[in-house]
C-alpha cells in the first residue's frame, strides 16, 4: 500500500462529509417537502401545480438527478486532491 493510512482516512472523512451533506438535501426534498410538509407547501401555487404536489411528482426527481451528478463531480475533485484517482 503506497498510500499512507492517514491520507486514506482523511479522504474517507471528506467523502463521508460530502455524502452526508448531499443526503441531507435528498432527505429534505423527498421526505420534508414532498411528504411531511406537503400540506404547508400546497398552500403555495405555482402555475397549475400546488408546490407540495409538484415536489412529490416532479421536483424531487429533478433534484435527485442534480445530486447524483454533483456528487460524481465533487468526489472526482476529492480523488485528485488526495491523489487517489485511478490514473
Amino acid at each position: 500500500m503506497s498510500l499512507n493510512r492517514e491520507k486514506a482516512n482523511a479522504y474517507w472523512q471528506a467523502n463521508i462529509r460530502l455524502v452526508l451533506k448531499l443526503l441531507m438535501i435528498w432527505f429534505i426534498v423527498a421526505f420534508g417537502c414532498s411528504i411531511i410538509f406537503v400540506d404547508l407547501l400546497n398552500t403555495i401555487q405555482i402555475g397549475g401545480y400546488k408546490l407540495g404536489f409538484w415536489f412529490a411528482q416532479q421536483g424531487s426527481m429533478y433534484v435527485f438527478v442534480i445530486l447524483t451528478f454533483y456528487y460524481a463531480k465533487k468526489i472526482g475533485q476529492l480523488d485528485r486532491e488526495f491523489g487517489v484517482d485511478e490514473e
Binding site: M1, S2, L3, A8, Y11, W12, N15, V19, L22, L23, W26, A30, F31, S34, I35, I36, V38, D39, N42, I46, G47, G48, Y49, K50, F53, W54, A56, Q57, Q58, S60, M61, Y62, F64, V65, L67, T68, F69, Y71, A72, I75, G76, D79, G83, V84, D85, E86
Partner: protein
Amino acid sequence: MELQTLTFIIVGITFAIYIGIAIWARAGTTSEFYVAGGGIHPVANGMATAADWMSAASFISMAGLIAFYGYGGSVFLMGWTGGYVLLAMLLAPYLRKFGKFTVPEFIGDRYYSKTARVVAVICLIVASVTYVIGQMKGIGVAFSRFLEVDYNTGLMSGMLIVFIYAVLGGMKGITYTQIAQYCILIFAYTVPAIFISLNLTGNPIPQLGLGSTMIGTETFLLDRLDQVVTELGFAEYTTQARLSTLNMFVYTMSLMIGTAGLPHVIIRFFTVPKVSDARKSAGWALVFIAILYTTAPAVAAMARLNLMETIQPANGQNLSYEERPSWFKNWEKTGLLKFEDKNNDGLIQYTSDKATNEMVKVDRDIMVLANPEIAKLPNWVIALVAAGGLAAALSTAAGLLLAISSSISHDLLKGVIKPDISEKGELLAGRISMAGAIVLAGYLGFNPPDFAAGTVALAFGLAASSIFPALMMGIFNKRMNKEGAIAGMIAGLSITLLYVFQHKGIMFVASTSFLGDMSPNWFFGIEPNAFGAIGAIVNFAVATVVSKVTAEPPEHVQHLVDDIRVPGESGSARHLTPDHPPA
C-alpha cells in the same frame, strides 16, 4: 388497419430489431466482450441500466396506480428514483472497486463466510421471484388485451414468451440490445403522452402540460381533475395521501433502499471500466429513468380525467352502456374491466359509493395501455404502447431470471455445494432453475398479491430489509462481522416476510393470510408493501448488537474494506475472466 394486426406487426418489428442487434453485436465483438468486458461508456451503460430497470411496473402499472392514488402515488415516483442517489453515493463505486460479479459473492467475501453467501442467495431469490410475479401480472394484462383473451390465457402465453426469451438468454447481456429497448420503450411512453397533453392543454411537454390550463379555458388541468373526482365522491387528486403520512414516509423509504439493494441493478455497475464511471453511470441511468418518471404523473392525471369524463361526464349525463366505446368492450373481454347495471337504467354510474358504483372492476394495470384508446389516438400509437410495454416487461423479467439462475448455479452450486461441477453442469442447473422460477412466478401470477407495481413494491421491501443493510454495513462499518451480518439479514428478511405473509397470505396465496389484508391489523397503519424500511431498521439493529458481542472481523477483511473505500490502486481488483462474463 385492424388494431390487432398492427400490434402484431409493430411488436414483431421491435423483436426483430432486438434479435438483429444481438446477432450483429455477437459476431463482431465476442472476444472484446469478454476481455475488455467493461469497455462501455457511462452514458450507454446508463441507458442500458434504465432499460433493465424499467419494467412492467414502471411502464404498464405505475401511471395507472398514480391515476387512482393521486398524490399518494408519489411514493413510486420518488421511491424508484431516489434510490439511485443512494446507489450512486453509498454502494455502486465501492462494489465496482471490489470487482466481483454477483452480490452474494461480495457478501461471502466481505463477511468471510459461505453461510453469509448462502443467506444472501436466499434473500436474493425471495426478492427476485416476487419481482417476477409482478412482471407476470403486467405481461398477462398486456397479452390478454392484445390477443383479446381473458387474463389467465394472456398470462400463460406471456410465460411461454418469457421462457423462450430468457432461455435464448445471451441477448440479455448485450448492452446494445438494451439501448434499443430503451429507445423503443421511451418513445412508446412519451409519444402518447405528448399527444394527450397537446389535446388537453395545448402544451406538447407533458411535464408542463400537467401544470397548465385546459385548452380554451382558464381552468388548470389539476383543478379540473380535483373537481371532477370530488364531485363523484372520490378523494381530491392532488392531496389524497396514501393512507397516512407515516405510511407514505415508510413506503417511499422502503422503495428507495430496495432500489439500492436489488441485485440485477447493482450488477450493472460491476461492468463499467472505472470507479468514477460507476458514479457517472448511476447519474445517467437516473436521467434516462427520470424522463419516463416525470412523464408518468402527467399520463396518470390525464388518463384519469379522460376516463372520468368519458364514463361519467360531470354534467350528470351518464354514458349509456349500449353506446360504450370499443376500448371498453375490448377490456371487458379480458375480465379486467367489469360493469354491472345495479339500478337497471342502462347507464353507467361510476362513483366512490360501493353500493351504487357500477364500474365494479377497473384494474389499475389497464390504464396505461387503455389510455391512448380512451384519448382516441391513432391505432399505430396504441400498437406502439403495446410494444413498449412488452419490451419493458420482457427485458426486466429476463434480467431477473438470469440473476436468479446465476445465484443458484454460480453462488450456491459452484460456490458452496459442488465446487467441482463442470461448466456444462453449471449451465444446465442455471437453465433448470430459470424454468422453475418462471413456472413458480407464473403460477403465483394467476392470483397476484397486488397490482403489478404493488407486487414489485413487495419485492423492493424484501431487498431493502435484507440485502441493502448488509452491503452498506460491509462498506461503511469496518467492525461489522459475519455473525452480525448473517443475523441481520435473517432477522430483516424474516420479519418482513412474516408481516407480508400474515396480511397477503403465505406465498401470496390470499386464502392463507391469517390476519387478513386489512388496515386495522397493520402495525402503526403501515401497509405490507411499505414494510421493508422497518425490516431494514431491524436488520441494522440486530446486526449492530450481534457484532458488538462477537469477535471483530479478521485483519485481511479490514484491509479489504480499506481498499474498496479508495478508488485508485484498483489495477488488481478487476477479476474479469472469460469464465465469468458480466451477467
